[in-house]
């Protein structure tokens, strides 16, 4: 045997081994590419869900693809019946909600959907052994009972006007889910629902694959296959969109701009309730001073932040409610007014020191502003905020830290926070501004305490009269203008780029935490190919 033939033999053996290994790991079925048709859609998102079980919080804002809620939101965020046949009947005292359920609906395993599944879903979420971090959203629920197979009655412990908005929550199959451990069982990765799509595969960290549910009660979707690729890095997502591997993706505004000249693609700038704000803790003598709060509110250049930090994809925020929300109190927009900010501080006794930073009774007008490490958007907001504050003579030190580092300091220090739930004003205003929420987890971080605000928030929470609620929320927003315990900075648009192959695509008003249910594919089951 010469050296050369030995080498060739080794190489051949190696190649055979590689091929054998590759064949061993292959899955059955023929290979199909993503293709250029309209029957399959592949989109790229930045984050994947931690679980696909509604019992642990998946899809609680709706549009979960695999599941349906009792209700759903349309493009304008109005409630529409889904698994219910109509909007709930609400008792006079606002504490009993009755839902009539659709008949003849089946889960994707063929089992019928009944009121017991609804009861099971809500009761399991509220069970203290269930590790659902969002269960507090349902804390108004006292009991949920089935009346026959097609009616469900919720009893609330207090009248809660926004409750119907919570019932977009997906309904799990009792028959399947109750057989497994709710926290770690297979229902987290192999969900069974009534929704327009069925999960075919979830490769964690890579992608989720869905196929249309042929027996969907709303009619079989035209888009046959739906793939959600999980691509954390923005540049890689843009590259894969450009290469044709993806049909659509969420992108930062600067990268979305690079697709503007591409005639085959459309850009969607989804309006959101996703705000960024600075918490101004009441316990800190600087940030707790109403004059300082108002001066900061006037000194901050929101428009410049929208233009420079957000590349224009967003709008100034004056409170948690976006300026284009029907609940926004007109007349509470504040233009930047540095002169007035300075005068407010002068009048309150904050006098400029040698270094330009103001002092009062020997105390420097300075505080620390935290943001979560690695969050570039919050960092840029924080730095812009510090720059604006300096012009009014207030020294803001910007620091980064993890949740664990930041949280213990927030009774005294400020934080660049983000949140936003579009479905009802109660969802943002109550946890952020009501005094009962002070120090409760990450809620009311400013320790905001205002008697009028508390009263109005309670009124708006309990009354089901839209006029009463609107007046109450107007009063809250005006009180916030007079005593801005948070400096609200911007509402951020979520930008999506997608192939121009389907008719009439829209976006909803999106929440801060936007997963698979957000984006132009929120109503994928209704998509129609272009003629």
């Amino acid at each position: 045997m010469t050296a050369r033939t030995a080498r060739t033999a080794t190489a051949a053996a190696t190649a055979a081994a590689v091929l054998a290994g590759a064949a061993a790991c292959s899955a059955p079925g023929g290979g199909e590419g993503s293709g250029g048709g309209t029957e399959s859609v592949t989109v790229g998102v930045a984050q994947e869900p931690e679980t696909l079980s509604p019992l642990l919080g998946y899809g609680k804002e709706g549009n979960s693809k695999i599941f349906d809620g009792l209700l759903t939101h349309d493009a304008r965020m109005n409630l529409r019946p889904a698994l219910a046949t109509r909007l709930p009947q609400v008792s006079k005292d606002g504490r009993t909600y009755t839902y009539d359920l659709r008949k003849g609906v089946t889960f994707s395993d063929g089992k019928p959907f009944t009121a017991e599944d609804v009861v099971y879903t809500y009761e399991t979420i509220l069970d203290e052994k269930t590790d659902n971090p969002s269960k507090g959203e349902l804390d108004a629920v006292e009991s949920v009972t089935a009346e026959g197979k097609h009616r469900v009655v919720f009893r609330l412990s207090y009248p809660y006007a926004a409750f119907a908005e919570r019932t977009v929550l997906p309904i799990a199959s009792q028959a399947v889910a109750s057989r497994t451990d709710v926290n770690t069982g297979s229902y987290n990765t192999q969900p069974v629902g009534t929704g327009p799509y069925v999960l075919t595969r979830w490769r964690k960290g890579e992608k989720l694959s869905f196929k249309a549910n042929p027996h969907y009660w709303g009619g079989k979707p035209k888009v046959e296959r739906f793939t959600v690729a999980v691509i954390e890095d923005d540049d890689v997502r843009a590259t894969r969109l450009r290469s044709g591997d993806l049909d659509g993706a969420i992108l930062p505004p600067d990268l979305a701009e690079t697709f503007e000249k591409d005639e085959d693609k459309r850009t969607f700038s989804a309006k959101t309730a996703d705000y960024r704000a600075v918490t101004l803790p009441s316990g800190n003598p600087v940030t707790g001073d109403r004059a300082v709060r108002r001066a900061l509110d006037l000194a901050v250049d929101r428009k410049a932040m929208v233009d420079s930090v957000l590349n224009g994809a967003g709008k100034p925020a004056y409170g948690p409610l976006p300026t284009d929300s029907p609940w926004f109190a007109e007349g509470t927009r504040r233009a930047r007014d540095l002169t007035r900010a300075r005068k407010l501080l002068d009048d309150a006794g904050w006098k400029p020191g040698k270094d330009g930073i103001r002092t009062k009774h020997g105390r420097r007008a300075s505080f620390t502003l935290w943001y979560f490490s690695g969050d570039k958007l919050r960092q840029e907001h924080a730095l812009a905020y510090a720059g604006d504050a300096k012009k009014a003579g207030i020294d803001v030190t910007v620091r980064a830290g993890s949740r664990e580092v930041v949280r213990p300091r927030l009774d005294h220090d400020a934080m660049l926070m983000g949140n936003g739930f579009p479905a009802d004003p109660d969802f943002d205003l109550y946890p952020t501004l009501h005094s009962s929420q002070i120090g409760d987890g990450w809620n009311n971080l400013a320790h905001y305490h205002d008697k009028t605000v508390d009263e109005q928030l309670d009124t708006a929470r309990r009354s089901r009269d839209p006029e009463v609620r609107k007046t109450a929320y107007d009063t809250v927003q005006r009180a916030l203008e007079k005593n801005p315990g948070y400096t609200f900075l911007t509402h951020i648009d979520h930008v999506y780029v997608i192939d121009d192959k389907w008719r009439g695509l829209t976006t909803q008003v999106e929440p801060h935490d936007h997963g698979i249910g957000a984006g132009p594919w929120w109503d994928l089951q209704d998509w129609q190919p272009q003629e």
């Binding site: 080498r7 190489a11 190696t14 081994a17 590689v18 091929l19 290994g21 590759a22 064949a23 790991c25 292959s26 059955p28 079925g29 023929g30 290979g31 199909e32 993503s34 293709g35 399959s40 790229g44 931690e50 679980t51 203290e128 052994k129 590790d131 971090p133 969002s134 507090g136 926290n183 770690t184 987290n188 990765t189 595969r201 960290g205 890579e206 992608k207 694959s209 296959r225 793939t227 690729a229 691509i231 890095d233 923005d234 540049d235 890689v236 590259t239 894969r240 290469s243 591997d245 690695g374 949740r403 664990e404 580092v405 949140n419 946890p431 409760d440 987890g441 990450w442 801060h512 935490d513």
Partner: protein, 245 residues
């Protein structure tokens, strides 16, 4: 080769394996103790990690309940002992980030990891040996002068950058491999042909990317990314490359 050598070699090998296995016991004990101690010493809060985005709007009551449910209270030697006793009985516990049993999480990924490593190893050995021998035939020759720097370049370059370059070359310019994962994003099935073709890119680049990937992932459990080329954070680094057509 003499016939007597083989029976003599077998007990020797068995003794070696036995010794190694015995040595692994104290090592594993020390390592698990170290991991639990480090976790206890770090400010990292597993409840916040588990709750994710929802943790920032959860009530304190919910967060406290989660802590109790996840059995995260109590001193760490006690928690380690509880983990160890169940691990010995075959229960490795549950992954809080994956919401599934750890044993299942490892099992699902093992095959792909083996494929990735095996393919990468075979490629490295085959190409490396062939090029090395060819270059050594004429020291200082043209081939030697090309191959030697070529061998050093991947060592010196940031691995994620090579990963990106690989995506750009094989997926965008040549269009022979998918830009990530084992198949095209839109394709749901893994076939031998596809798998064979695609495993080359991730294994070559993936092997290079790996050290960075580990560092970047922080406290998540290892191996959860499957066979995907994952390009870590430093995004601006990459934008120059990405602006190429």
């Amino acid at each position: 080769m003499s016939g007597a050598a083989i029976p003599a070699a077998v007990p020797a090998a068995a003794r070696l394996v036995g010794r190694r296995l015995l040595a692994a016991v104290p090592v594993l004990a020390a390592v698990t103790f170290g991991v639990f101690a480090l976790a206890a010493a770090s400010p990292f809060d597993p409840v916040q990690q588990y709750a994710g985005a929802a943790g920032l709007s959860a009530s304190q009551e919910t967060l406290d309940q989660l802590r109790a449910n996840l059995a995260l209270d109590g001193p760490f030697p006690q928690r380690r002992w509880e983990w160890l006793t169940s691990a010995v009985q075959g229960d490795l516990g549950d992954s809080t980030s994956l919401r599934q049993p750890v044993a299942q999480a490892i099992g699902e990924r093992l095959g792909w990891s083996v494929l990735l490593c095996a393919a990468g190893f075979c490629f490295a050995v085959t190409a490396g040996t062939a090029l090395g021998v060819a270059a050594a035939r004429r020291r200082g020759g043209l081939l030697d002068r090309i191959v030697t720097p070529l061998a050093y370049t991947p060592e010196a370059a940031p691995p994620f950058w090579i990963g990106l370059l690989g995506i750009w070359l094989f997926a965008i310019r040549l269009d022979v491999l998918p830009a990530g994962g084992l198949t095209d994003s839109g394709s749901d099935v893994v076939t031998a042909g596809r798998c064979c073709g695609t495993s080359r890119c991730p294994s070559a680049a993936g092997a290079l990317v790996r050290p960075h990937r580990r560092a970047g992932r922080g406290l998540r459990s290892p191996g959860e990314r499957g066979g995907q080329i994952r390009t870590p954070r430093p995004r601006r680094y990459a934008s120059g490359l990405m602006s190429l057509p």
